[in-house]
């Protein structure tokens, strides 16, 4: 397997996931938290794409000239995941607007109270 291309991708996945998780855990601003969640989602999508990668593979289109192509299934999964992520983000922003209208700020004050 040709690791020259795959290794940087895995490093990027780890970086995106840890940046996102750091943001979710450390920030108090709700908008920043949702931005961090989007970053994490991008990390997972990149992981899926990297898993499906075949060295020197082309796009998975049926054609006599292409014999070696990348795994099409992860691409379909990522497409679904992107749509889901988009809808969650849209709903989150709608909710943040009404949160801002109620509280006058996007800072989250309360903790996870028991």
């Amino acid at each position: 397997m040709n690791y020259a291309l795959v290794t940087p991708c895995y490093i990027a996945v780890a970086a995106l996931l840890s940046i996102g998780l750091y943001g979710v855990v450390s920030k108090r601003n709700l908008m920043k938290i949702f931005i961090s969640l989007s970053i994490m989602e991008t990390g997972v999508n990149l992981l899926l794409i990297t898993i499906g990668y075949v060295p020197e593979g082309t796009a998975p289109i049926e054609n006599a000239n292409f014999t070696k192509y990348v795994d099409p299934l992860p691409q379909a999964l990522v497409l679904t995941a992107i749509v889901i992520g988009l809808s969650v983000t849209a709903l989150a922003i709608a909710m943040l607007i009404s949160y801002y209208e109620k509280k006058g700020s996007l800072e989250y004050k309360g903790g996870m109270k028991w």
């Binding site: 979710v24 709700l30 938290i33 949702f34 969640l37 994490m40 989602e41 997972v44 992981l47 899926l48 898993i51 795994d71 299934l73 992860p74 999964l77 679904t80 995941a81 889901i84 809808s87 969650v88 709903l91 989150a92 909710m95 943040l96 009404s98 949160y99 109620k102 509280k103 989250y108 309360g110 996870m112 109270k113 028991w114």
Partner: protein
């Protein structure tokens, strides 16, 4: 094949997309779709009860390539439970809601049914997301400060959960190149040991957020407190039950190892004890019921985790605990809409619901705990038995206080609420009499 389980998912989805086009008839369309689903789920359950498992290929592609639905007796029972209670609950709340709520309600029901029926792990993820997104919006629908705060909390944790589930799926796919649950199960031993456990941990953590398992349930009290009582009722019989069943399915089919059952047992015991103790300290009724739900989810997880040795007792226990909790807690949430519970219907609901959750014979909750004990005694788990008894005593304590405080003034609930509550809570009595009836007819309870 005569029965098509896919209709249980397709009909509410189609109805949900039709509703915005016919706004005026929103709740009528939703009620129609749910009535169909309820009837179909009853038919499917009786078909499976006599004929055994069914598999349905979607679009004619054979597994492992195509997506398919795998329905066994337990999942048919859960689909029936979710759709039946969805319809009854909708009787109570449907009329005061506008078309948007009916739409979201249908989406949440379609998603929970899908989680229960699917045999494809990515499909399960998609249904989790449908359910979760619909629930966020439903919780926020009350539009006051608490509702939005609860919804945002749930949303942050739910989004992290979905990322974890997707990552677990990606790890499994990277090794086995398949998403079919049964295909994964047959080839799980060829997976790299570390990646196998990493994917199990990711899936358990991700689904555990939806299934209200400690320490992933920080959203539960805020969301239940903020949501209107109809939505809280939906959350307690729909998504959470589907999620706990998804954990059980993943544990029993994909990872049937000694260590996974042990992890689930510990997590379940900790969830039970902490949930019940936290419930004891609450002042607000909805918060108390929410923490009590957490404890009950722990109890259900314990029941599933005992399935490695005595599958029969453990699954019967899980069956009764799920029924008892779904019917009793949903009706108690409907009851919590009004602070007082005077009047015959409200008193009946409150007392029967509370007794079933505590585990008084002959209600369904008693049989759940009874079979759980039988399974635990078989495995000589004395500490677990002690803790379950302890949790029961704590439950009795706070529920007695709850009953004492809320008896009194006439309740202001309208008739639809009362009918829905009474019908829901009566299922615990009906199913509690089932084992006795079976015993008298000397039939085996384990009919499938």
């Amino acid at each position: 094949m005569v029965v098509h389980p896919v209709l249980l998912i397709a009909i509410p989805l189609i109805a949900a997309f039709i509703i915005p086009l016919a706004k005026k008839y929103g709740s009528a369309i939703a009620a129609g779709a749910m009535a169909f689903n309820m009837g179909y789920a009853i038919g499917m359950f009786s078909y499976i009860y006599s004929n055994g498992k069914i598999y349905e290929m979607i679009a004619g592609f054979k597994p492992p390539v195509g997506i398919f639905l795998a329905v066994d007796a337990l999942s048919a029972m859960l689909a029936l439970l979710i759709n039946l209670f969805a319809f009854i609950n909708f009787i109570a709340i449907g009329k005061e809601w506008n078309y948007k709520f009916s739409m979201l309600y249908l989406l949440a029901i379609a998603g929970s049914t899908g989680i229960v029926l699917t045999g494809d792990i990515f499909n399960m993820f998609v249904f989790f997301e449908i359910t979760a997104v619909a629930s966020y919006a439903l919780i926020a629908g009350k539009k006051d400060e608490k509702a939005i705060e609860g919804a945002i909390k749930y949303m942050v944790l739910g989004s992290i959960a979905s990322i974890f589930i997707l990552m677990g799926i990606a790890l499994i796919y990277s090794q086995l190149k398949t998403l079919n649950i049964y295909d994964i199960a047959t080839r799980i031993s060829s997976m790299d040991e570390k990646i196998k456990w990493a994917s199990f941990a990711l899936l358990l953590t991700g689904i555990g957020v939806e299934a209200e398992i400690f320490p992933l349930n920080g959203w539960v009290p805020a969301a239940y407190q903020g949501a209107s009582s109809g939505v809280a009722s939906l959350l307690s019989f729909g998504p959470s039950k589907a999620a706990i069943y998804a954990i059980a399915r993943i544990m029993m089919v994909i990872f049937p190892f000694h260590a996974t059952y042990e992890i689930a047992l510990y997590v379940g015991v900790v969830t039970l004890v902490i949930g019940e103790l936290a419930a004891f300290m609450q002042e607000d009724v909805k918060r108390m019921l929410a923490y009590s739900s957490i404890g009950q989810m722990g109890l259900i997880l314990i029941a599933f985790s005992l399935a490695s040795q005595n599958i029969q007792n453990a699954l019967i226990a899980a069956f009764f605990l799920i029924i008892s909790h779904a019917s009793a807690k949903s009706s108690l949430f409907l009851l919590s809409r009004s602070p007082s519970m005077g009047g015959a219907a409200c008193k009946y609901t409150g007392i029967v619901g509370v007794l079933s959750i505590i585990g008084m014979p002959p209600l369904a909750g008693f049989w759940g705990k009874w079979y759980l004990m039988l399974a635990a005694i078989n495995e000589k788990l004395w500490l677990v038995i002690m803790l379950v008894f302890f949790a029961g005593i704590v439950e009795a304590g706070y529920f007695a206080r709850y009953l004492h405080k809320s008896m009194g003034n006439e309740s202001k609930l309208n008739l639809r609420y009362k009918v829905a509550m009474v019908v829901m809570v009566s299922f615990t009595i009906l199913l509690g009499l089932l084992p006795i009836a079976y015993k008298m007819a000397s039939l085996p309870l384990w009919g499938w």
